[in-house]
Each structure stands twice: as structure tokens, then as C-alpha cells.
């Protein structure tokens, strides 16, 4: 069936031309998109952008499909389990539009090597589970004068925003300490930093038991399909805004924010930002280390309160 009629670009994307002019669609078509990481967001965005008419992709990722990916990743099916994500996605993109060129990298490059990939791309989408690596991608994008798109869903919350070389940085918006990659990777693993992610419970509707195990490194991030696809669609819309040049985009520190299943146009939370910054100022210093014992007392009380609140509402 498919081989009889050649799939030409204008027929495939006929409905897009009701919105974009030929020139804008051509811009979308030749935008080179780098997606780093093979989390659900990266994959959903890749298929979404392929269906919007983007034709040049660079995909980086090293994982294989696991049963737990089934609850959100668009190319995860019972018979793709155990296979390389990136090669399946690249097949999927070509089945959407045979004209798509995919440059596949089957391993996450060393922090130094990713620079080259960022330099060649037009839009960078960091979609790695590792926050430190994402921060690195945003920094490199800024250094190379590229636009990067943040899409960060977690449970029933999500943040989507566009970072241009001129806008405020991700570290500034999220209150992440200004350290190099190795330093940051270490800080993110500490329980003190994880405590400051309590908004996963308050905004993301995480169950406290799950958070406790996440905190101890036993559980991965909680994700649900509808919110993740919602965040990915918003990020896809922002990508098209940037690529087509037709509309102004949601530039940081403005963002799309999803909280407890509700979407709004918002601003990165200043409370969380200053909370984390202040925390780092006090506890990040070697002299602050002994104080950690006292904060643990606070967190224990706080999580007990959250637990009782959950039990009450349940």
C-alpha cells in the first residue's frame, strides 16, 4: 500500500499549511533538533516534531526498553521490550516521514564531547533523567548561542520553558548551585538536595511512601502518561514557535507550569528558587556541614506532616 504512493512532504503536512506559510513550514523542516537522552519526554517530542514536519534529528541515548517504560513512552510495546530505544525511535520517525534524516548516537557522550553535537544543532532538547547532565546541556547551548527547551514532568507537575542565550539560566530559575558537572552530580545525589524537591509531593501529587523510597534511591521518578504527554505537547508547541519564527515563545523566567493536573502560564517559583539558594549558601559551605543534623530533624517532621495530610485526604 505504502510503496504505491510516494509520500510527498506537501501531502503529508497539508493540514499544517492551514496555519503556516510555505516559508515558515520550510523553516520548520530544516531545523536541526538535538534530543539528548531517551526518557519519555525526548521520545514523545521526537515523534511529535516528526509529525509537525521537522526532518533533521540528532538523537542521543543508550537505554533499552523496560516494562516500566510502557506507562508513557510512545514507542514502547510488548515486542519492543529489551530493544535499543534510539534505534526503535529512529525507525518510527522514518515510518512517519521517509524524508527524515536521523543521526543516531547510541551512547551518552562524555561531558566534553557533547559540545560538538550542541554546536551543530539549531534547537537543543535535554531530556536526560540526570539533572546534572541536563544542566550541562543548557550551559553548552548558551555557550554556543543555541536555544534550548526545558520539558520537565514529574508526576502531576511539569515545567516547560524556552532558554535562549539572552534569557535567565536554568540554574537561576530552579535555584541550582553554580558548580561544574562533577560537583553538581555529587550535590544532586545528596539527601539534602533531594529534600528540597518536596514540591514533587505538594505540586506533583507524589505519594509520600514513593517519595521516601525515591529519596533513598530505591524508586525512579513517578510519571503518568497524560501529564508527560501534556508537557511534551507544550514543549513541542514552543519548539515550533521557535523554529517557525511565527509567534513569540514562552521565554524563561516565564514558563508553562502544570501543578496537580492543572496547567497555567506562570513564572518559575521564586520561593523554591530562593529556598534552595539560601540553603546552599548556608549548608553548602564546609562550616555548614554540622548543621545538617538539625535540618534532618525538620525534614522528618515535615514529611510526617505530609504523610498525615495524605492519610487524611485518602
Amino acid at each position: 500500500m505504502a510503496s504505491e504512493t510516494p509520500l510527498n512532504y506537501t501531502t503529508l503536512f497539508q493540514r499544517n499549511f492551514g496555519i503556516f506559510t510555505a516559508e515558515e513550514q520550510a523553516r520548520i523542516r530544516k531545523t536541526r533538533i538535538l534530543i539528548v537522552g531517551d526518557s519519555g519526554v525526548g521520545e514523545t517530542l521526537a515523534t511529535l516534531l516528526a509529525r509537525s514536519g521537522c526532518e533533521r534529528f540528532v538523537l542521543v541515548g543508550q537505554d533499552t526498553y523496560e516494562p516500566a517504560d510502557m506507562n508513557r513512552q510512545p514507542c514502547c510495546f510488548t515486542n519492543t521490550l529489551g530493544r535499543r530505544k534510539i534505534s526503535i525511535i529512529s525507525d518510527c520517525l522514518k515510518a512517519i516521514n521517509p524524508g527524515i534524516e536521523v543521526d543516531v548516537h547510541l551512547a551518552l557522550p562524555e561531558p566534553a564531547a557533547i559540545d560538538g553535537l550542541v554546536a551543530q544543532a539549531d534547537i537543543v532538547i535535554p531530556a536526560v533523567d540526570d539533572l546534572a547532565y541536563s544542566v550541562l546541556c543548557f550551559r553548552l547551548a548558551k555557550k554556543n548561542g543555541k536555544t534550548a527547551i526545558l520539558c520537565m514532568p514529574s508526576g502531576a507537575m511539569g515545567l516547560v520553558s524556552v532558554f535562549t542565550p539572552g534569557s535567565s539560566t536554568l540554574e537561576d530559575c530552579l535555584g541550582i548551585p553554580n558548580l561544574d558537572y562533577e560537583g553538581l552530580a555529587e550535590v544532586i545525589r545528596t539527601p539534602e538536595f533531594k529534600c528540597a524537591q518536596y514540591n514533587y509531593i505538594t505540586d506533583g501529587s507524589w505519594r509520600v511512601e514513593w517519595y521516601r523510597d525515591y529519596f533513598r534511591g530505591k524508586n525512579p521518578l513517578a510519571q503518568i502518561c497524560a501529564v508527560e504527554w501534556l508537557a511534551a505537547s507544550l514543549a513541542g508547541l514552543e519548539t515550533l514557535k521557535v523554529a517557525s519564527g511565527k509567534w513569540p515563545f514562552t521565554e524563561s523566567p516565564l514558563c508553562w507550569s502544570i501543578k496537580r493536573g492543572k496547567v497555567s502560564n506562570s513564572h518559575f517559583s521564586r520561593f523554591i528558587k530562593y529556598h534552595r539558594k539560601l540553603g546552599w549558601l548556608i549548608f553548602g559551605h564546609p562550616c555548614g556541614r554540622p548543621l545538617h543534623r538539625w535540618t534532618h530533624l525538620f525534614w522528618r517532621r515535615f514529611f510526617k506532616y505530609l504523610q498525615s495530610r495524605q492519610d487524611h485526604s485518602g
Binding site: Y214, L221, G236, L237
Partner: protein
């Protein structure tokens, strides 16, 4: 990898095995608990169980219907009744979730059904791959928990909404157009769908269908080039030559995921869903909850569509039509000027 077609990859074709060495996991199908493990970070066992036992009736498996079906399958919903007579065409590629080079020409409900089973082998999928009439659809409604009328033909959907309301079932409304969309749940006790979109009260399907096709009614969608970012040339083609509606993948998936989220909210009772008279109003720059008859452009449109249609039915009709055509010419010129 390239020797295999995409549909074989996703379980819509023959068995795997020729491809390299199939990993261990493929032999034994993972359990429901393993597949939806990450959901339990948000939902309790009881809430997830409610999803697993829920039945969704989807009439029309195109852009929104197909996407909602897949998202709900990935959320762990266990039973689906899919109704769709149509096949995948090339122009569906820009937004429909299961449209691929090698599913072109196949029935949409069958392809979506196969994908659902490849996601959750325990799911129960009932497929109706022909055009059903309203009585046949009404007979499917009582066994469903949520009804999602997602047919291209809005007149057809309206009658399903009425049946759902009559039979005491909650229905999902998703209306996308260009970069604009409306999403909400229609409860059996709340306002009817006609009130949401400003459809005049007409009894039968034929009357509704005829009205939607008239030029004077279609001109009531003049918000498409203003709010939904349609190009005016294309909009003219839509009004005058019957071009299909302009659609964009991120916007279609955006309203579909929001719709699916509302269904998940309703089924799990975890968060309060947005039920009519409240609704999600989505544009490219803003997403917010509005209320029927609240202060908004939508309210103006709804009342205009309802009132003007009735005035058109009186003796004033012909002269009004003349004025409307005059207005249309000016409107096109103004929007064209604005867009250039």
C-alpha cells in the same frame, strides 16, 4: 532493522524472532503491576484498580480519539470499545498517533486496537470497524464509564453526547481547531454540549448536519483566523471550497492529553475534574479554565451563533445574508492585511 516494517515492530504484524536475538523479556509478558509500576508513585492501589476496571467508549479514532485511546491505554485503563469506519490517509500523518507509512489504508480502530494490546496484553478491546447508527451506539453506552464522541462530523457527535446524558454517563468533549481548543467533561446533570459551543437547538441529526454545512452558520466560526491562527487564504478555502480543518500536531496532542487527564481525574477521583459549565480554553499562549457565560470571547461567540441563527430563520433572513456577505468581504480583507 530496516528489513522489518514499523507495524511489525509495534506488534501489529507477524511475530518477532528473525531480528537478531530476541531478548528474554519478550518471551514472558510482564504483569500489569510491572507495566504500570511508575503510576503507583501517584495513584494508590485502589485508584489504579479503578483505572484498570474502567471501560471507555470512543467513537471516532482519528486525531483526538486515537491519541486519547493510546494515552489511556498507557495510563492502565483496561477496557476499550472503539468505533471507526475510516482508514488512515496520507494527510492524517501530521497528527494521528498510529498513522505510519505502513498503516496507511488500514482501518483506524483496528490499528489503535492492536497498539492497545501491544501496550497492555490484558486489555479488552472491542472494535466496530463500520459506520454505526445512533441506536447501535446508544446500545454500547450503558456498559461504558466514559463516552468520548470524537467523530469528525460534529452533528454526529452531538447526538452521542445527548444519548450519554440521557443514559446518565459522563462524556468527554475535546474540540481542536488550529492552535485553539476546548476541553471539558460533560456530566449527566450539567449543561448540554450545545451550550458549550453555541449550537442552536435542533432535534434530528439531519437538521443539525444541514445547518453545519450552510455557509451562514460556518461564518460563525470567524474566530478561527483570529484565535486559532488559521491563515486567511486557507480559511476562505474552508468556507468556500470545503477544505478540511487546519490542524497542528502539538495542539491536537495537547488537547488530547488534557482530555485524557480529565478522564483519569474522573476515574481515579484523585483530583477534581473540569466539568461543564467550566471548561479548558486553550490557545497557543494561554491555557485557563473558563466558565460558560463568563466574560470571554467564547461567550460572545456562543450567543451570537445561537441568536443569529434564529434571526436568520425569520423573514429578515435574506437581507441579513446580504449584509453577512458584505461583512465577510471586509473581514477577509482586514484579516489579510493584519496577517501580512
Amino acid at each position: 532493522m530496516s528489513s522489518k516494517t514499523w507495524s511489525q515492530n509495534v506488534g501489529c504484524g507477524t511475530d518477532d524472532g528473525a531480528e537478531g536475538k530476541p531478548p528474554k523479556e519478550m518471551k514472558t509478558v510482564p504483569s500489569y503491576r510491572d507495566l504500570f509500576a511508575r503510576n503507583y508513585g501517584i495513584f494508590t492501589e485502589a485508584e489504579q484498580e479503578r483505572l484498570r476496571l474502567a471501560t471507555i467508549l470512543i467513537v471516532g479514532c482519528g486525531g483526538i480519539g486515537g491519541t486519547v485511546a493510546i494515552i489511556l491505554a498507557r495510563s492502565g485503563v483496561g477496557r476499550f470499545v472503539l468505533v471507526e469506519f475510516d482508514q488512515y490517509e496520507t494527510t492524517n500523518m501530521n497528527r494521528q498517533v498510529a498513522c505510519f507509512k505502513d498503516t496507511l489504508g488500514r482501518n483506524k480502530a483496528e490499528v489503535i486496537g492492536e497498539q492497545i494490546l501491544a501496550i497492555n496484553p490484558e486489555a479488552a478491546v472491542e472494535i466496530h470497524n463500520r459506520l454505526l447508527n445512533h441506536d447501535e451506539i446508544a446500545s454500547l453506552i450503558p456498559s461504558a464509564d466514559i463516552v468520548f464522541p470524537a467523530a469528525d462530523d460534529f452533528a454526529f457527535s452531538i447526538l452521542i453526547f445527548r444519548d450519554a446524558q440521557r443514559l446518565g454517563k459522563t462524556a468527554l468533549l475535546v474540540v481542536p481547531s488550529g492552535t485553539w481548543a476546548n476541553v471539558c467533561l460533560i456530566s449527566p446533570h450539567g449543561p448540554a454540549v450545545e451550550k458549550m459551543e453555541g449550537v442552536p437547538k435542533l432535534e434530528t441529526y439531519e437538521e443539525l448536519k444541514r445547518m453545519f454545512q450552510t455557509r451562514k452558520y460556518k461564518l460563525g466560526t470567524y474566530d478561527y483566523p483570529l484565535r486559532a491562527d488559521w491563515r486567511i487564504d486557507y480559511y476562505r478555502g474552508f468556507i468556500e471550497d470545503g477544505l478540511p480543518p487546519a490542524q497542528l500536531c502539538p495542539s491536537v496532542w495537547l488537547c488530547s492529553s488534557l482530555g485524557a487527564l480529565e478522564v483519569v481525574k474522573h476515574l481515579t477521583c484523585r483530583w477534581a475534574p473540569v466539568v461543564a459549565p467550566r471548561y479548558w480554553s486553550i490557545t497557543k499562549n494561554r491555557i485557563r479554565i473558563q466558565r460558560i457565560n463568563g466574560l470571554s470571547l467564547q461567550t460572545l461567540l456562543i450567543w451570537q451563533r445561537k441568536l443569529v441563527w434564529h434571526i436568520f430563520q425569520t423573514r429578515l433572513g435574506p437581507s441579513l445574508e446580504f449584509l453577512q456577505n458584505l461583512w465577510w468581504q471586509l473581514f477577509c480583507r482586514w484579516v489579510k492585511y493584519r496577517q501580512d
